[in-house]
């Protein structure tokens, strides 16, 4: 039980840390912040720089916390929010399968985060070492709800920014 959760947290957590590093610092052949900011801008998350920092920080910090098993429910919730935005905006139009850039990978990552939100991080975690036993169905449901609120918040902010630009464009015409 605890070994499996440790394995799951470390693999998925470190992959998230890597993605955050790609976005923020251009680690491991990543784009870095300027390029990520332009990309987020083109996706409608405006101003792109602010969302690039937010998205990168969520992945970097959320991934590190998940790997450590520290503030595990918070880590799970913000990672669900991030993956939900990625799925809705980037991957959804590309279908299901990962080979074509579909929702598969962010869906599995979100499912892992949600699962750890319910199970808790297990014995080999900082949360447990400092005496927090954060697990169970009510907490898992809270994690899912906070994650869903984060998805809705991100999409609403994006819709607002896009609408603002389009309204201005219409006014100019």
């Amino acid at each position: 039980m605890d070994t499996g959760l440790l394995l799951l947290r470390i693999v998925v957590g470190l992959l998230f840390v890597g993605h955050g590093g790609l976005k923020l610092f251009g680690w491991l052949g990543g784009d870095g912040l300027d390029s990520t900011a332009r990309y987020f801008d083109s996706l409608g998350y405006r101003p792109g720089r602010r969302y690039a920092i937010a998205g990168g920080a969520i992945e970097l910090a959320g991934g590190a916390l998940l790997a450590l098993g520290l503030f595990t429910p918070i880590a799970a919730a913000v990672l669900i929010a991030m993956m939900g935005n990625a799925m809705a905006v980037v991957h959804w139009p590309k279908g299901l399968w990962n080979a074509a850039g579909g929702v598969e990978l962010p869906l599995v990552l979100a499912a892992v985060a949600a699962a750890v939100g319910f199970t808790g991080p297990g014995r080999y975690s900082v949360d447990r070492a400092i005496g927090w036993h954060l697990s169970g169905v009510p907490l898992g449901v809270v994690v899912l709800l906070v994650g869903a609120a984060g998805i809705a918040g991100g999409l609403a902010a994006r819709a607002w920014a896009t609408r603002d630009v389009e309204a201005r464009r219409a006014h100019m015409i």
Binding site: T3, G4, L8, V11, G18, L96, E104, L109, F118, T119
Partner: protein
């Protein structure tokens, strides 16, 4: 705990079963058995048709069994074996990240499946309904070892195909 495992098993298991059905039956835009056999043959898994059956069944049966929580460590072993072969034969040269076809996605799948073998499928599973307790350290290691044997078998097959393949290109006197 049990709810989290159910989420993880169902999401991961059904996605993998979907991949298997693409390979075996050509469902959901997949290549079907002939297309998969050709692809596997070109990767050095020979004979390609037998390899396509093995790979497709590992994903289809392993994925469904994981989703059901039935023979869970063996389902995990099939998935670990299949994902290990995908990593070594396809994704390894492409680096880590999924965006460029790296190992990220098969690695996540393998880690999640193996984690379930250690943790167990939870209460909402066929194994639990049948009163089977196929989890914990011992069963996690069993899944890992069987999966590793599958990966080694695949690598050996490809190595021998590479030898005979290069022999075939030699002009015969």
């Amino acid at each position: 705990m049990n709810t989290g495992l159910l989420i993880l098993r169902v999401v991961l298991g059904l996605l993998l079963a979907g991949h298997g059905s693409q390979k075996l039956f050509g469902w959901m835009g997949g290549p079907g058995l002939s297309g998969t056999a050709q692809m596997f043959e070109s990767l050095g898994f020979r004979p390609g048709r037998a390899a396509a059956w093995a790979g497709g069944l590992a994903e289809f049966v392993g994925g469904l069994a994981l989703a059901l929580g039935w023979f869970t460590p063996f389902a995990a072993a099939m998935i670990v074996g299949m994902m290990g072969n995908a990593i070594t034969a396809v994704h390894w040269p492409n680096g880590i990240w999924a965006q460029s076809g790296g190992i990220e996605f098969p690695l996540t799948n393998a880690a999640a499946a193996l984690a379930v073998a250690f943790i167990g499928p939870g209460r909402f599973s066929v194994d639990h309904g049948l009163g089977w307790h196929l989890y914990g350290w011992k069963w996690g290691v069993v899944a890992l070892v069987i999966g590793a044997v599958g990966v080694l078998a695949g690598m050996a097959t490809r190595a021998s195909a590479a030898r005979t393949g290069s022999g075939r290109t030699q002009p015969t006197a």
